[in-house]
């Protein structure tokens, strides 16, 4: 009887591997779930892209939910995400804040001019220091921050119509329901 132990242990292993293969098709192995979901967004103060005299802070954006979309002109996948933002951004009904990450302001402005600007506001984090507080490790990434400044949802990778429909919109709806 105990002789069957190795066989059953192996069966368990196969189940694990089968799961692994399946999981792999649905997820990116490199996706790191954010520990900030449900926590207050970090305090920040960043200049507006192209207008360094003006700065925007977390306090300035309190009161209404907004999407913070991390992008850069150097980022290939951001180029893939961009048309989706142009098409569906306004329809979401929330403020869309562009977070220009580790980019040269001139390059970023040129990129937006060439591809279109879906953002209500673009702030620039040239050094990437504040992004670290957000737990950003690549682009594109998108944060949904509610009116109280709490991060409610994070998307790692480009926004697709599918993700918007099945993940972002429900998250937005949830926030809307909570409003007095």
């Amino acid at each position: 009887m105990s002789r069957l132990l190795p066989f059953f242990a192996f069966v368990g292993l196969v189940a694990l591997f089968g799961f692994g293969i399946w999981w792999n098709t649905k997820h990116d192995l490199r996706e790191v779930p954010s520990p900030l979901i449900g926590r207050a967004a970090p305090e920040f103060r960043l200049p507006v892209l192209g207008d360094p005299g003006r700065t925007v802070s977390k306090a300035d954006l309190l009161g209404k939910p907004y999407l913070l979309n991390v992008f850069g002109s150097w980022c290939f996948a951001c180029g893939e995400e961009h048309p989706v933002l142009m098409a569906e951004g306004k329809a979401l009904g929330v403020m869309l804040v562009g977070y220009n990450y580790k980019d040269e302001p001139a390059a970023a402005k040129g990129w937006l001019a060439e591809h279109g600007n879906p953002y209500d506001l673009v702030i620039a984090d040239v050094e990437g220091r504040t992004a670290i507080d957000f737990g950003v490790y690549g682009a594109p990434e998108t944060f949904l921050v509610d009116g109280k400044g709490v991060i409610r949802y994070k998307r790692i990778g480009p926004l697709t119509p599918d993700v918007i429909e099945h993940e972002l919109k429900p998250a937005l709806a949830k926030i809307a329901r909570e409003a007095p």
Binding site: D28, L29, R30, E31, V32, P33, S34, P35, L36, W74, C75, F76, A77, E80, K102, E127, G128, R129, I132, D133, F134, G135, Y137, G138, A139, G157, P158
Partner: protein
């Protein structure tokens, strides 16, 4: 699709000649540098396949190394620095898995295997020893093959 995208991202970063793991920083003394090396060796580079902050050429790795350096200059302890990283990037960033309910299996699993195996070993050895006790000593050590029992 996503994987290809991230891979391209990584390639883009990896071929950027600007960033480098070799990154002289103004340490107070060698002891501080050693502490920095040990600490960054335990932190994971999140955009790499499987490298520590100490070894990675990625931009993000360099940024995070500078964060660690700044935090060290501020007088933070190793644990505080690790907590700082975990607060932003989750415990995935630690190569030393913390001991908690989720990792109990990981840390105690080998012990369990050792104990169960040890029990099986003891049972087996005692059974054999009992059999050996009933045989004359010379028969027990008698060689089976043509060689000597060395």
């Amino acid at each position: 699709m996503m994987r290809r995208v991230v891979l391209l991202l990584v390639l883009l970063v990896a071929t950027t000649v600007a960033a480098q793991a070799i990154d002289p920083l103004p340490f107070k003394d060698h002891a501080q540098e050693v502490r920095f090396q040990h600490l960054t060796a335990q932190l994971r580079c999140l955009v790499c396949q499987n490298e520590s902050l100490n070894d990675s050429n990625a931009d993000l790795a360099r940024d995070l190394r500078h964060e660690v350096f700044d935090l060290m200059q501020q007088g933070k302890s190793d644990q505080q620095i690790k907590d700082w990283m975990v607060a932003r990037y989750s415990k995935f960033v630690l190569y030393d898995p913390p001991l908690d309910a989720g990792t109990a299996l990981l840390w105690f699993g080998p012990l369990l295997v050792l104990v169960l195996g040890g029990v099986a070993l003891v049972v087996q050895v005692r059974r054999r020893a009992r059999a050996a006790a009933t045989e004359p000593a010379s028969a027990v050590t008698e060689s089976n093959d043509s060689g000597e029992n060395w």
